[in-house]
Amino acid sequence: MKRYFAVEQLDKKRVSRRRATFFTLVFLLTTIAVWFMADLLWKGPVSAVGVVVLVLFTILFAHIAMGFCTAMLGLYVINRGDTARISRSIEGESLEELPLGSTAIVMPVFNEDSSRIFEALRVIYRSLEKTGRLVDFDFFILSDTNDPNKWIQEEIAWYELCRQLNGFGRIFYRKRRISINKKSGNVGDFLRRWGQSYRYMVVLDADSVMTGEAIVKMVAMMERNLGVGILQSAPRIVNGVTLYSRLQQFSNRLYSPLFLAGLNYWHQGESNFWGHNAVIRVAPFMEHCALPELPGVEPFGGRILSHDFVEAALIRKAGWQVWLAYDLEGSFEEGPPTLIDSAKRDRRWCQGNMQHSWLLFARGFHPINRFHLLQGIMGYLASPLWLLFMLISTMHRFSEAMHPVPSEFAAQNYTMIFDYAVPLPEALALFGFTMVLLFSPKLISLLLELKNRRAVAYGGPVRLCLSVFLEMVASALLAPINMIFHAKFVVYILLGQGVSWVTQQRAASEESDWREAIITHSGQMAFGLIWGTSAYILVPSFFWWLLPVLLGLVLSAPLSIFLAKANYGRRARELGLFLTPDETEPAPVLPLLEKHLEECYRHMQPIRELRQDYGLMQAVLDPYVNAVHVSLLRQRRPGSHSVRKYFIELRRRLLADGPQSLSQREKMALLLDPESMNWLHEQLWKKPPDLLSEWWRLAMRQYNVLTSTPVTALYR
């Protein structure tokens, strides 16, 4: 019998050695930098400010060093080849031979664009069909949508998709009446109802796409490695239209292989879960990963918002491994189209990650899981610390300029290495060292692609080099803006101001929203101006050091608008800038999805007067949509007299005064009540015109006049 590789066979000592290497490197690099910094600070007497600056610097530099070391270890294993990777367990086998188990592919959604959701499902379904392994998979759209229009669109889109793919009985749709605990509650609700029927669950985000091959391989890896509880893929960012999203996808595609290989090098079986594009072993997940509430109330306590890291820690605590399939092709997601949308998403993530502070000392967690939690916190906490560090340094510099300390070896002229004075300004040396750590992984990634003759997939060597240069300039300008955003979020959260769960804006827009940009960035611009002006007046030499930071802040609003423009993004693509292999040699699912979406969006829009309540209109007026909607609702026992009276009044108002007379909540209440929906459909068609509002009369006359099919996302 053929013996297969399984990750359980890996030597535990080897894993320990890898981690020791990683942390030793981080320690060494941090020590060197701290030594430089201490030397720089203490040319004169030791001061309290100097100590604070040094402590902050140590924390922040260690954070940078971790990224650098991860990338360097990634480079090491990419060149040498890594045998300690989970994909080895299915290497060389054809898709038809791979072992599979019953798998649910779940996609939790909340007020998303239904075209994007269902067209992605369509390409995933078709791609799985091509592998010949579709029979092992069921699909679930788990909706928490509370926008009446989008809810009805989802229902119609699901129904049409099932009809077109003959997917009834394989593609399912579930809408929760009450959305408790957001995404993790939604998935938990699915597991309580249907979890026992499946061995695995593939969790997708509303903007995820995966190839059938990738899904089959991931499930097969789980089948081969029975001790693995979660297998995370490394999704690539795709479908960027604006300059901002193209920058993100370019940097993700070019730089991430190095970091991912490095992460796998030292994470091994204690890797992390990123919430989507992952396979989960259902039984242990259900047993160990139901999330309790944290002490206190939101934003710091209460429900756990960023559930993924905690679930990874809990399943690891129960003895199951978590792996990263870093070298698996065919896993994709989309990024936010603008800087402001990215900040909105970061605000949610920031709150979720800050909550993890509670869990740093939780009993039984694996040290590496604690480290993941700490890194998640530091991802946001680093920003206020950087800001504090820079502000204190500025004040320290101002103070020095006003009360200069005479020194034989002035910091601006020499660097001390042991007892040797090197004629290089020490600050410059430290700056250079930091820059090397920050930018060398990027340059190495570039060199790797050039060396492997992969530059053509990025538009050619010249365009690739130019794109990397421009990306580095853009990331340098964006870094201080993100620093201020994150610092603000952390302070707000500490002051007890929570965030609401808003739908992520995923589509690019042609319009510039200057008002939003100015409101969002005005504080940053003013801060940059004041900081820069005072530095220029008090210590002009220090101003030039601050300039890279100040530029980003002062230009934040126009930069934000410039990067948000879809036409600039398209122009960059035409010029061959920020191209990625996922655009030049895409997996078949990507162009297919793009083509389907183009067809969807070309479809005629409902007339303006009806657009706002088109979903509700269809659910009441269209005989088929009404039938599908009612059949999907759970029948309810007749309510009390007051409840019935409430619904009667709502129905009357809807027909007599139109949907504009009802609040969103009232519309949702009607849509959730099957009796009301039946009644409304019948009465709408039976009532004489003079008893109906003008809105309904227009809707009845206009409906299906110009198109033979109703205007929905899926009719094409």
Partner: protein, 195 residues
């Protein structure tokens, strides 16, 4: 067979005003279009049948609006037709209407058999067969089980901090005051050490 346009021309209701019957005509026409019945010839045939039956009913109940009667008539005709097709004539109106419409939509009946709509006498065998697949399944059979959150032991330090925060949260003014005090203290410390 009588020509449909002639049949409509021959439509002479004895009760109700022309405006009322015109409104009823428009309503039935809209309703047919909502069912994706776009064929004008077929529309006029059905319209004649519906309006004739509604007119007869209006003579008995002149206080009712012709639009209401016409809508009730077409509903009744559809219930009978769906009952015949689904082989279940005893279902209540709400169920037969829902199941019939879903079955009709699922088999794309209006497009594939355009002349079969509301025709009780000529029902194509394939259409009748396809109409029997009448339900949509939004979810598979449930296998309900529990998924109970387990307490996470946060560690002594965190537990104490948690309890303290919970106490503080009971007094929101104190909480905000404390946070601001910490914030101001940090500012003061920065100012003092760097002035």
């Amino acid at each position: 067979m009588e020509l449909p346009l002639e049949s409509l021309t021959a439509f002479r209701p004895r009760t109700g005003t022309p405006d009322q019957w015109n409104a009823a005509f428009v309503r039935v026409e809209d309703y047919l279009r909502a069912h994706r019945v776009h064929n004008r010839l077929q529309q006029s045939q059905i319209l004649h049948r519906v309006l004739s039956r509604a007119a007869a009913q209006h003579e008995k109940e002149p206080h009712l609006d012709p639009t209401t009667l016409a809508a009730e008539e077409i509903d009744r005709m559809m219930d009978e037709w769906f009952g015949e097709l689904l082989g279940d004539k005893n279902l209540p109106h709400e169920r037969i209407a829902i199941e019939g419409r879903i079955a009709l939509q699922m088999c794309d009946g209006v497009t594939r058999w355009p002349y079969a709509f509301l025709d009780m006498e000529n029902i194509p065998a394939e259409f009748a067969h396809d109409m029997k697949r009448r339900s949509v399944q939004a979810g598979p059979d449930m296998t309900v089980t529990s998924m109970v959150p387990r307490e996470i032991e946060l560690g002594t330090l965190t537990e104490v901090a948690g309890q303290t925060f919970e106490q503080i949260e009971k007094w929101p003014i104190l909480r905000v005051s404390l946070l601001w005090a910490v914030f101001l203290a940090v500012l003061a410390a920065v100012f003092y050490t760097t002035r």
